[in-house]
């Protein structure tokens, strides 16, 4: 039941950084041929290739493709088709959203744009793959977060686009019930990527480490391994599910717990 990924095509959108890149490396370690997409020349290709070479993996194909442009999707699939009859694994990782700041700032256009970039590619890539290869991938994983269940500041468009992707994922499991395909969502939070400082500012990591505890940080490699597990063959009966990989943080992330920690610290200091 364990899969052999040797020379199998694995496609990851937004695959040149953070979680996408770490996921690529996890599959590459198991022999897969990676296709990593990015946009606007945002990838340092030599650095990415260096990381694959360092673990003795096949050189990945790094391709510029905007997930919201159908022609670019077709061109990308044509490139893959030159070397592969089908795509074994598709990881929908790209997410491009705008920050929101209160009710008055909400714009329909912002919401729809976010959905176009962060949710729709999950569906449109599968449609295009079916046309190009006459076959769907055996594994599809969409990267998400628990933003739809929790309030995160400025996260409206992220949360709404992710929940659109998640709902479409579940409906697709019904439509594709006769195909050899499993579609699942991996939700995560608090991942330490290079983008964290950029998104939340320089004090975020320190704040979280002091209050939640460093043990609750997640690292891109851990998420990469989790995605690999979903596609390993060991979880083939898993379909249409949303899995939260967060070390248990979401459950414990309450002010009550923060207060408990503060009181414990105070008691220690008093002693």
């Amino acid at each position: 039941m364990r899969n052999d990924f040797t020379n199998k095509a694995v496609l990851i959108t937004g695959g040149t950084k953070g979680i996408g890149l770490a996921t690529g490396l996890a599959f590459a370690r198991n022999g897969a041929h990676l296709y990593l997409t990015h946009r606007w020349s945002s990838a340092d290709e030599d650095e990415v290739r260096g990381k694959f070479a360092a673990i003795g993996a096949l050189e990945p194909a790094i391709i510029e493709a905007d997930v919201s442009v159908d022609e670019e999707t077709d061109a990308l699939l044509e490139i893959i088709k030159k070397d592969h009859d089908c795509i074994e694994v598709f990881i929908s990782n790209v997410s491009v959203v705008q920050p929101a700041s209160g009710v008055e700032s909400y714009r329909k256009r912002s919401m729809l744009k976010s959905i176009e970039y962060s949710a729709w590619p999950f569906v449109s890539y599968l449609q295009h793959m079916k046309k190009a290869f006459a076959k769907l991938p055996r594994y599809v994983v969409g990267l998400s977060s628990d933003g739809a269940d929790n309030y995160f500041a400025h996260y409206e468009y992220v949360s709404t686009s992710k929940i659109v992707m998640e709902t479409l994922c579940r409906y697709l499991t019904y439509h594709l019930r006769d195909e050899d395909i499993r579609l699942n969502i991996l939700r995560t939070r608090n991942v330490l990527t290079d983008a964290v400082d950029e998104i939340f500012g320089p004090n975020y990591v320190k704040f979280m480490a002091e209050r939640a505890g460093e043990e609750y940080f997640l690292y891109p490699e851990e998420i990469g391994n989790a995605v690999l597990a979903l596609c390993s063959g060991m979880l083939d009966a898993l379909n249409g599910q949303m899995i939260l990989v967060d070390k248990g943080m979401a459950f414990a992330d309450t002010v009550s717990r923060t207060l408990e920690n503060e009181l414990e610290k105070k008691t220690e200091q008093d002693q």
């Binding site: 364990r2 019904y174 597990a229 898993l238 939260l244 990989v245």
Partner: protein, 271 residues
Amino acid sequence: MILNDFHGKAVLITGATKGLGLAIGKAFGAEGAHVYLTHRWGSADEDEIRAAFAEIDAPEPAIIEADASNLKETRALLETVHKDHDAVEVFVSNVSFAAVNHEGLDGLDKRSLFKSLEYSTWPFVCHVQEVKKLFGRYPRYTLGTSCDGPDTFYPGYDYVGVSKAVMETFCKYLAKHVFEEERAVVNILRSRPVSTESLVATFGEDYEPFLRKLYGDDYFIDVEQVGEAVLALCSGLLDAMNGQVVLLDKGVAFQDNLMRLFDQREQFGLG
């Protein structure tokens, strides 16, 4: 692909000489683990189990009679494990024994509820406590097997649903404590109908053929798939998952409703 090496490691599974528990045991046995399988009231055909392990080149399992609800027997069981091992790597709480209620509101009584909790919920907590006491540390991986009974109506399933819901809630609390203390993890694997002896015992002879007729063979998952899924959760690939409830059901629960049946009425001869 599995990151952990289970050779010589102790894996303890309650209610493990049949069905799901046995399949989980074999999955770990195939990875070289020293598996302890518990049962009650001489319900195991020990020779058959040993032969099944020998067939897959797994180390001979220890088959031990121990009532999971009896503290003395739990302690004696763990003493036996302790003779050969310094730690319990994996603990799978699989035992479940709940009353069946077919009498509606009048059929519910507190004694049946408490009995069900005592046999199906508390062993999950108690074994973790006792492992910590005797070995000085928690199992690195604790896993409870559950079902979607807390979310979905199954006839007669009142006490099962409640016992599993309580176990799942304890899972989340335990996950917080054992992760912060020792970076150990606790999760729940829910599976939808698996064709086993206990399915017939709970729902009767006609249940499985009826569902195969009105859903298709895909309604059921194989016990081997559950074994593989538990192994995946303990493989090292999913170490960042903690306090989660994962549903293994091939996507069936999402589609299991009358609207779906109406949509497919011709296929199922329901005109």
